[in-house]
Amino acid sequence: MDGTETPQALASDLAAVARRLRQSTVEVRAMERAIGSGIIWGGEGLIVTCAHVLRGDGRASGAPMVRLADGRLLRAAVLACDRRADLAVVRVDAQDLPAASIGDSDCLRAGELVLAFGHPWGLVGAVVTGVVHAASGPEAPTGSPWIRADLRLAPGHSGGPMTDARGRVVGVNTMIAGGLALAVPSRVAGALVERCRAR
């Protein structure tokens, strides 16, 4: 392998994935101060985020606001808030949003690259890289309901996408435990979105 071409190709790949995912990552604000992230899921204005970003059930505390990557600030309506899974689905009144592509959270291999997007400490559009800590999915021996990644999350990443090397969303960043980043699998988030659509 050539000594300089590969790192350059890696860097441009990484930049391409980051550019695409930033378009699909939004800032979610609830109750003035709480800032988290969200993922544009499908074309009908649906956004997936974490329930704890909305605080409470998300209804009593007033409508959350969503800031898109292009700067638009939109009022969102809460469609679903599952505090046990730490997931929420909100809808904004916009149809033309750049949806994230969704990957398969059930076939992650330990050691494969993952990227996380969001707004850590309010820093917009940040990307962090890491690897899958332990395989997850129905056949994995670990039995963890979360995707665990050797990757550094910070407050503000919550609700943002965790993706594979192709930039496909495999999880929703939810918390840090024992130095590991935990994400709700995209399969769980996808099922909640489907329930919202069915209603």
């Binding site: 890696l10 330990a110 050691g111 690897v131 332990a134 670990t142 050797d150 024992g178």
Partner: protein
């Protein structure tokens, strides 16, 4: 996109390849540690994680488990060797730890298997651990050693095992024992049951030499005064006395008690070493037969 995806696949394959020789070591209460099948039937782990002497078990990543017995341990390099009855399991595929350079991608694999990634953050020459063991090469890694990772393999991007990670050799730094050192220590532990180290049995205190002393020992740096003597130790048997001031070892001037430890530890037991010293105002050469360092009481 293809380069990033192929790197991702390579890393996952590297973890899979290394994980075939990774076991869970149940050798202490509560938190297990990680072990590597170094050779057929021999598992290496971090010595500080082996707290039980009997009823040891190892578990492969497929869930199969086998009893293990402790062969021997070397606290100096924080390595312990276990024997498992289970045969037919693949041993670790070893890579060239000497070829590692600062900045190389590296993975640590813990039981499970679980992965942690980073880079080789520094390399250096041979060094001695705080527990007195000799390590062929300094390998400092920039990756997180999660609980239970000690004893697991340090893996290069191809999945070859280039070292063993442990938190037992430094409080602050993430370090790995290079594969060459692990192989050497495993050989010694299996054949002799211990890693023998040369030993004089003296306690030394650095002292500044006066001009008169410097005339007696030309080229000497500091003097090292004998402040304690192990009874019946190698130095005592050779006739060294409290108050002797050591100036050179085999003609090499001494500057620090560590110089003596470094020179003696690597010498074969029962070899003779010429110690230059000053006693009662006159220089003197004494031949000392190097003894073997007694093993630490646990």
């Amino acid at each position: 996109m293809q380069t990033l995806v192929s790197l991702s696949n390579d890393l996952a394959s590297a973890v899979e390849r290394a994980a075939r020789a990774v076991v869970t070591v149940h050798a202490r209460p509560r938190l297990p540690s990680t072990g590597i099948v170094w050779r057929s039937g021999l598992v290496v782990t971090a010595e500080h994680t082996v707290r039980l002497e009997s009823d040891l078990r190892v578990t492969w990543t497929d869930g199969q488990s086998a009893p293990a017995t402790l062969v021997a341990r070397d606290p100096g390099t924080d390595l312990a060797v276990l024997r498992v009855v289970e045969s037919g399991r693949p041993a670790a595929e070893l890579g060239d730890s000497g070829a590692l350079r600062t900045g190389h991608l590296a993975l640590a694999v813990g039981y499970g298997p679980r992965a942690s990634w980073g880079v080789i953050s520094a390399t250096g020459g041979a060094w001695r651990t705080w527990r007195g063991g000799d390590v062929d090469r300094l390998l400092r890694v920039d990756l997180v050693l999660y609980p239970g990772f000690s004893g697991g393999p340090l893996v290069d991007a191809s999945g070859a095992v280039v070292g063993l990670v442990t938190s037992g050799l430094s409080r602050q730094l993430e370090l790995a024992v290079p594969a060459t050192t692990v192989s050497r220590v495993v050989d010694e532990l299996v054949s002799r049951g211990r890693v023998s180290r040369g030993y004089l049995g003296v306690g030394l205190q650095p002292v500044a030499l006066t001009e008169a002393f410097k005339r007696l020992a030309p080229g000497a740096g500091l003097g090292l005064m004998v402040v304690s003597l192990e009874p019946e130790g190698p130095a005592a048997r050779a006739g060294l006395l409290l108050g002797d001031v050591l100036t050179a070892l085999e003609g090499t001037p001494l500057h620090d008690p560590g110089d003596v430890t470094a020179a003696i530890a690597g010498r074969p037991v029962d070899s003779n070493v010429r110690v230059s010293l000053i006693r009662g105002g006159s220089p003197l050469d004494v031949s000392v037969t190097v003894g073997e360092r007694p093993s630490r009481k646990r």
